[in-house]
Symmetry: C2
Subunit: 409 residues, 2 copies
């Protein structure tokens, strides 16, 4: 067996000698080629390979595909893992079914990697997928910063087929008498990707194949531009976690294009970014009076004294807890409070602020403002109330009978 | 008459009330619509319009088109200008026939504007041309910085039809019973643009027209990115003329992407830039030992002590002049020399340096190096020789009988 794909794949796989590899295995021709190739070379390369099939449960042929994958692995003595994610997909529809499917697919694949001590996850994305992706990105409104295409490597995910074309896959499948499953929805032109694959790409090649080189060049440039701009803005990011905190005064000093890049990059962690959302957020941040703006998917952006925060709305939602008499330690995921002496024996209400709250004679809000407590912290701040009177407030009070400790944010 | 194009064009043309406008008139439907529309509105808008036809002399139908344009203008009482640029095109083929044609077309159009005191040149580029251009750029290997599309305004050139689609043009042509000439080469699919127009664009629209919005968005982003990067690099440019001079130490401190952007931008003034040329120039500039590198179209890049220069090779070519006895003033385009006393009466050779030149006992080269004369200046430096002996050298000598003056570079 000597073909171009052989040289390319052997070259790739040599990098993973002595490693334990999990292949994302749909049963389609790309991932079947990848798994089959690895399986036939595993001894010479000393690669240990397993396969994981994610059943989305969305098509009536989903079970057929799962069974095909299981059978192939049994026949070839490959460790096989499978997950059905249809329940998760039913619950989550934050960004369209394709985005949700991708999210849960990778979640379960990477979970399998971790649980079973694999070194890497391999996926069957090909060169042709990468070229297609450029035009999908173009159609769905990518920006110059996000035309980067499919990444070869990302975290533990490796895509060793990125230099393999559809033609090479077909050649391999035929030569090796393989019978991959076929996802009927691949022909359904209601999906942008399929329209591009079946209608646009053939015409592009018909016009000449110079465009391939240009696409690859632009993808590389987009990645470089991304790195370049990230270097220019990274000093603005104070914290990037489930809540993102930006230094407000550093943000203000950025060039417009840097601001847009930074927001786009952060937003894309949480929801699908459109030009309209970006522009709304930018004009919100240009207006000193505005405090908060709703973003998609239950997120918010807030500007306060020194910071800009992006977080899930639920983090500032109301809460009320009850500490019964006789209990000294009260714990939530976010904080713990220890009560001493007479407070231990009382019924105590633990909550966040309500409109009009007063602490002593003063408005709680004014006290927070005096201490320059930022809006986000004000709304989450723990208030302790006894007999309808506030006796303690986070950021403001000291009380020898209360020891308060906040974890995380 | 009430159509969308009417509102768009009236809106556009209102900006040029009381102006004298020259329309670039090929006789094709786009420029015919533009000229016809202006002609019908010229009184209400108080626009004075002339038309200029450039005959490229490349097709056997070129004369037919010129005649059509002339006749239309005579019938409609419009000042008409025409140039045949076939001679210029025969001589110049530095960047392909399409690029040369564009260069001379605009040269003669702008010449006509100037000679006849027009305020602006209008061209008939349409929205559809702009979308097409994006894919032409994509095919021919544009970078993220050069995807900007057709500019609405550039110097004295205005493109008021950029929001007019091909459909609107066709509607206008039919409604007004116009009979434009048809350039048969528009159907010749040996040209990338025609392949894209006739094969690719219809399929793109067939896939849905979201791509239009994306293209316009990317074009805008590309222009913004261009401005942004220009801001980051402009301090490096010392002089930008027929010879470009960059500050070498400022250049070295740029980020890689900024270097590439700056060179690309400068090179594009002189020749068609490819990725290979850019990379060759960048790696040349990373190597302290290299002094000069040949670029396309007879250009060179040079790095010297403090500067990087990009110039036409001919500027450093050999020259030898002869000042006959009895003549005191010698002049070229670049410099003049006045000879006094005994020198006036002698035969003097005026030339640039030869390999191995000695001045007194020293090598001329060493003298130049001692004075840190940059390479470009060394090669152009005026040497004065009498009886096979160098008696004076620019940058080095003083001689009371010689007054030397250099113009320009």
């Amino acid at each position: 067996m000597h073909s171009l794909y052989n040289d390319i794949l052997i070259q790739e796989l040599k990098k993973y000698r002595d490693k334990k590899i999990l292949v994302a295995f749909s049963g389609g021709k790309d991932s079947l080629m990848l798994l089959d190739f690895i399986n036939k070379q595993k001894e010479s390369l000393n690669i240990y390979a397993g396969a994981c099939h994610i059943n989305h449960g969305l098509r009536h042929t989903a079970k057929r595909d799962e069974d095909f994958c299981r059978l192939y692995c049994i026949k070839n003595n490959i460790d096989f893992y499978t997950y059905n994610i249809s329940e998760e997909l039913k619950k989550d529809n934050s960004g369209g079914i394709e985005a949700s499917a991708r999210k849960y697919r990778y979640k379960f694949l990477l979970h399998t990697v971790k649980e079973n001590n694999y070194d890497f996850l391999f996926t069957g994305h090909t060169y042709s997928d990468d070229i297609e992706s450029f035009f999908v990105d173009l159609y769905t409104g990518a920006s110059l910063f996000t035309l980067g295409g499919i990444m070869y490597e990302n975290d533990k995910i490796i895509r060793p087929m990125l230099n393999i074309t559809t033609e090479m896959v077909n050649e391999y499948i035929i030569k090796n008498n393989l019978e991959p499953v076929f996802d009927e929805t691949n022909n359904d032109i209601k999906y942008v990707r399929n329209r591009i694959r079946h209608k646009l790409i053939p015409v592009l090649y018909d016009c000449g194949n110079e465009f391939e080189k240009s696409v690859i060049k632009l993808q590389k440039e987009s990645n470089r531009l991304n790195e370049y701009l990230y270097k220019k803005v990274k000093h603005v990011i104070l914290k990037q976690d489930s809540i993102v905190i930006l230094k407000r005064y550093s943000f203000i000093e950025l060039e417009d294009i840097e601001k847009e890049y930074l927001l786009g990059k952060i937003f894309s962690l949480f929801f699908r970014v459109s030009k309209n959302i970006l522009h709304a957020a930018l004009s919100f941040l240009n207006n000193d009076d505005s405090k908060r703006l709703d973003l998609p998917n239950g997120y918010m952006i807030e500007q306060s004294y020194h910071s800009i925060k992006i977080f899930k709305k639920i983090l500032i939602s109301d809460y009320v807890y009850n500490k019964p008499a006789g209990i000294s330690l009260f714990k939530t995921d976010d904080f713990q409070i220890e009560f001493f002496n007479e407070l231990k024996d009382k019924t105590i209400i633990i909550r966040n602020r309500n409109k009009g709250d007063k602490f002593g004679r003063k408005k709680l809000k004014d006290l927070f403002i005096d201490k320059q407590v930022e809006l986000f912290e004000r709304d989450r701040a723990v208030i302790i109330e006894e007999n309808n009177v506030i006796i303690w407030a986070e950021y403001i009070s000291k009380n020898n009978n209360i020891i308060f400790k906040r974890y995380g944010i």
